[in-house]
Amino acid sequence: MDTTGDVAAPDGAHCTGCGSLSCIGCTRTLDPPRFCPQCGRRLTVAVTPGGFRARCRDHGALAPT
């Protein structure tokens, strides 16, 4: 299992690790998303033993990947 590799944001999306549009990817494999890929706003995230829930104020819930 890759536990340290950075995950690149898709073209045109905000990085879910830092919210930046220009970031080439700083989200680690074992980090849940922290920023909305659509608007870069900070997400409300609840990490539970079996998963996580992430929600943007404007764009709603993100599906766990």
Partner: protein
Amino acid sequence: MSGDTTNSPTPTTVTLSPPRRGEPVRPDIEPSAARARIHAAETALLDDRRLLTGEELTGLAALPDDYVTSLAALAHQVRLSWCGPEVEVEGILSAKTGGCPEDCHFCSQSSQFDTPVKATPFLDADEVLQAAEETKASGATEFCIVLAVRGPDERTMQRILELVPMVQERTGLNVAVSAGLLTDDQARRFGEGGVHRYNHNLETSRSFFPNVVTTHTWEERQETCELVRAHGMELCCGALLGMGETDEQRIELLTQLQDLDPTEVPLNFLNPRPGTPLGGEQPVAAWEAIRWIALFRLGLPGVILRYAGGREVTLRELQSMGMTSGINALIVGNYLTTLGRSADEDLQMLSDLRMPVGALTGVL
């Protein structure tokens, strides 16, 4: 086919894991002297059944890398002899995330640092119960409700005291709580309210603590730990390795934990978090982590020594080796703000190692 079966050596491309900041250079010593130190520890722990002194632990910590497997093998025997073969499995939940006023330099939930973690209020009872059900489904016997607070205010106390019996009744799990510093009266109420185990980590030694926390003291943490025991709860008091502390300070912490005599010691390895003062640190090297897992077992032979945060990042493929180096408990699933590997992977690892998991033995 030529019939030439000679295997020519393949040039290696493996780069050896370099020492991390603060990792000491350990000079070679005479093999007979190294074996004597290990043998003396074996006699003390398995025959005399006494705790090792700080001086003895220092001698073991100074052994070169080639002796880590010997330390691990002894630690595993000590674990079996003092604790038995069972492994305890636990799930944890951050029931109130972020916004903490304290400045623990390793923590992404401090309001004093600009981290990606957004503060969220106390989860609803239904969300906590759902998380407890997830934990139960993973085969765990323990569920810990964790809150990012300096200490619980009255409203938080009441919420926790409502949740603990609800979780117990719904799932049958033992319920642990981690809610920061406690007063004597709060500890009494938690003890009377059915909290099975209370987590409050020392994190590091008294001498190193001011380097990583300035908003409260090591002594305040120690006092809460003593209150937990005084009010009949099991004490869960953990460590976090990899913040820049020296070997001597790790031994100091071990002897301080010996004095506190906790039931459980969760062993965390720093997973550097963006935005925190320790965000630029490197994780502890995997082989060094195995050394210190073994040393924690040798220093604390009778405790529940639990794999906690950072193991995936620190140990990678050596996680199963930690289980045969003194670990006898683990947090399965996710952590407070980061994800872990799946509970199924951990349960498969335990099955492969033929380690029974309490109530899960039948499942394995």
